[in-house]
Amino acid sequence: MSRELTAANLDRRSVLKASLLAGGGLALDVLIPLPAGARETAEERERAAARLSAFVSIAPDGTVTIMSKNPEIGQGIKTSLPMIVADELDCDWSRVRIAQADLDQKRYGEQYAGGSTATPRDWLPMRQTGAAARAMLVQAAALKWRVEASELTTAKGRIHHAATGRSVGYGEVASAAAAVAPPELSTVPLKRPEQFTIIGRPMVGIDSARIVKGEPIFGVDMRLPGMLYAVYEVAPAHGGRLVKAEIEAARRAPGVKHVVPIVGNGDADTGLADGVAIVATNWWLANEARAKLRIDWDLSAAKGHSSSVYRATADAAIAAGAGADLRLDGDPAAKLAAAARRIAARYDYPFIAHAPMEPQNCTARYADGKLEIWAPSQTPQRGLDQLHKVFGIEPEAVTLHLRRAGGGFGRRLMNDYVVQAVAIAKAVPGVPIQLMWSRPDDMRRDYYRPGGWHSFEAGIGASGELLAFTDHFVTFGDGKTPARAAGFNVAMPPAGLIEHLRYSQSMMPTVVTTGALRAPGSNALCFASQSFLDEVALAAGTDLPRLMLTMLGERREIVPPGGGVSFDTGRARDVIEKVVETSEWTHRPAQSGSGKGFAFYFSHRGYFAEVVEASVAGGKVTVHKVWVAGDIGSQIINPMGAENQVRGAVIDGLAQALAGQAIEFVDGVAQQSNFHDFQLARIPATPEIEIAWVRPDKPPTGLGEPALPPVIPALTNAIFAATGTRIRSLPVRLAIA
């Protein structure tokens, strides 16, 4: 197995530092020649490898090592970004090995996994990085052969000179190439798409062969000599404070080495809650000892933070009026008053948990003022910043290694488990500790996708056109700012597509921690808005695909208020027309117990239209097939991973609606604790999923998120088509007929 490079030996061997500028461009800035015969004791290959940039090094035998900078959480980035580098480098993929970079944003640029941002952000810089290394190799060969670089061609890790029939492997000129001045990245020639040999080919994930053998590559698989295992007992209710802890009995429990009360910082954002850590020789022993703790908690802050109270508060807010305006276009009140037909409906959805299969965990060792961390975090830099904020630990004193994460879904955008592990490590200096949460810990202390309520109204004209549309959104927040991931999106369709529209908002406070879940905002807003628009379409005598196409109108770009990513109505049209074609969409049949539903959404730069075919019998919904039409730009980088992302998003969304997913609170205490009362998708419910890509000449964008939102309203609209029952509240609960 490949040994992963560490930041330390990269530094020592630095030939060329590449750094991403603030604006996103890649600069190759400093040239420090590698000392001849560098005194390395590592693997032979690495000993002699020549480093062409922060991302690329090449060994004499031609083996190419590409650094993968971003956290891998199952989205496939550890394979796809190096594919981009390797293609422009024009090397042989079978001779590439990939090393996970430690956190070092000065060297690698931004290193996070969130918002489906890596592909759009890194597509060009990664290509330039590969092309620059190729240019340096070509230049080295040109110097060696005393010919012009322009006379040379490359293929599969070799350089050819057609005029003389000579060729040389990259490995043979790599050390000479490392001394070549790097080219200007912005002008280095790039391939034309038809020249790609790696990008666009289905490639098996770089860690897959290790995974099927059970090799220890995840966060929880980290082991260090003398390492102990920790659990962290926190208050049952969100916002609870520790009053008094009796810890002696736990301290005497088998295997327990330390019991450490920890005073939190009262800041739910960093997640250092008041608690008691138990550190033992075996995780199970640590977890068992929790039963011996006697802790008095002050839970008063959470009193009244119950799902039933939240619901009643939302009802009252909706009854009280429209709340504060977020967006007001035209005169929706007047248009509603003048409409031939008005329809109104309320929609809501619950808090839900992320529940990645690998529970939150972090391994940390604190000794002599230095901290070393192994973390499956989606935002490691943010973790580092929080360690500085909470403990005053300078970033320079921290080495942070990224571990493969057993799922993310947005949960690991937060670094609470990192902060907690460091609090424990600081209490037992010199001892490496691994904090792991139990599944109930994970379920009860999530940064949940927040619940929300919508009160919609629409006015339909005499000829069936949508005249006016309003949505009063009730969410969580302090009155001024919504809670994390509890905000609205004022670009939510039909905004921008009709003249008269109002979006408004009311807020209530919550002690419950909230956060981004895969396709944040969109995962819930799409359900509510595309379901209500399905109602509007029927009331207007049409169907949702036709209504959307009518509203989308001419092909044009719509810039959202305040700027941001523009919305291309033509690209939206194309995916809608594509899924109408692939699903053989027809006007709704009679409600015969089975039917199809449609929905469209634009999120995280991706355009997705989806159709679900479902049947309902005895109150049970069966999804038979899902058709997906997606547009994430001209190039699917790794079709193998891309299709997995789409299928995973579809299955995830269906489970949110059909598996009964809801986290409910009583006085701040989450009532669900494990997979019996918070169900995830299981194999028997998995439908056939057919994917069609629309590939316009646009830059590639990300795929972790945008395929998820439409599947939920496509499902609920299908249930309506099948039964006449409109699902206005998630999760789906049907009476047993």
Binding site: G214, R223, P356, G407, F409, R439, N644, R647, I683, E690
Partner: protein, 159 residues
């Protein structure tokens, strides 16, 4: 308590409480880290191992009840013909996303093929229903089992 355990064809001695689940003996005492913790109560299947050839949730099996049973884990499965075919099929169509649950999935699939060389879709659904894949790789899990059973053409990436 001291126990002599037959794991992957070798005898391992451990000194742990009788109630400690086999999962935590594997992970915490023996460094066999392929078997994963997911729920601790037998609901997710991430900790699936073979006990005398049958798939069992190791988080629900106290070490004191293992006795002389032969335990096999994901680290060993490639040494069996069926296990190797499953690993190859898993790689052929790159089943996994995050990969955390896949050891348990392969162990359950291997036990299934041990009972039924040509499983029907209903057999696959029934045998695999106890293994959660949060990433939703289920279409490819079905395909990989069929490929390993020689029931489906391997062909790049499949539904």
């Amino acid at each position: 308590m001291r126990y002599r355990l037959d794991i992957n064809g070798a005898i391992h001695e451990v000194d742990v409480p009788a109630e400690m689940p086999l999962l935590w003996v594997l992970r915490g005492e023996l460094g066999l880290l392929g078997t994963k913790y997911g729920c601790g109560v037998g609901l997710c299947g991430a900790c699936t191992v073979h006990v005398d050839g049958a798939a069992q949730r190791s988080c629900q099996l106290p070490v004191g009840r293992v006795g002389r049973a032969k335990i096999h884990t994901i680290e060993h499965i490639g040494a069996t013909a069926t296990g190797e075919r499953l690993q190859q099929a898993w790689l052929k169509i790159d089943v996994m996303q995050c990969g955390y649950c896949q050891a348990g999935q392969i162990m359950s699939a291997c036990a299934l093929l041990g009972r039924s060389a040509q499983p029907s879709e209903a057999d696959i659904n029934a045998a695999m229903a106890g293994n959660i894949c949060r990433c939703g790789c289920y279409n490819r899990i079905r395909s990989a089992i069929r490929i390993a059973a020689g029931m489906e053409e391997e062909g790049g990436h499949v539904a």
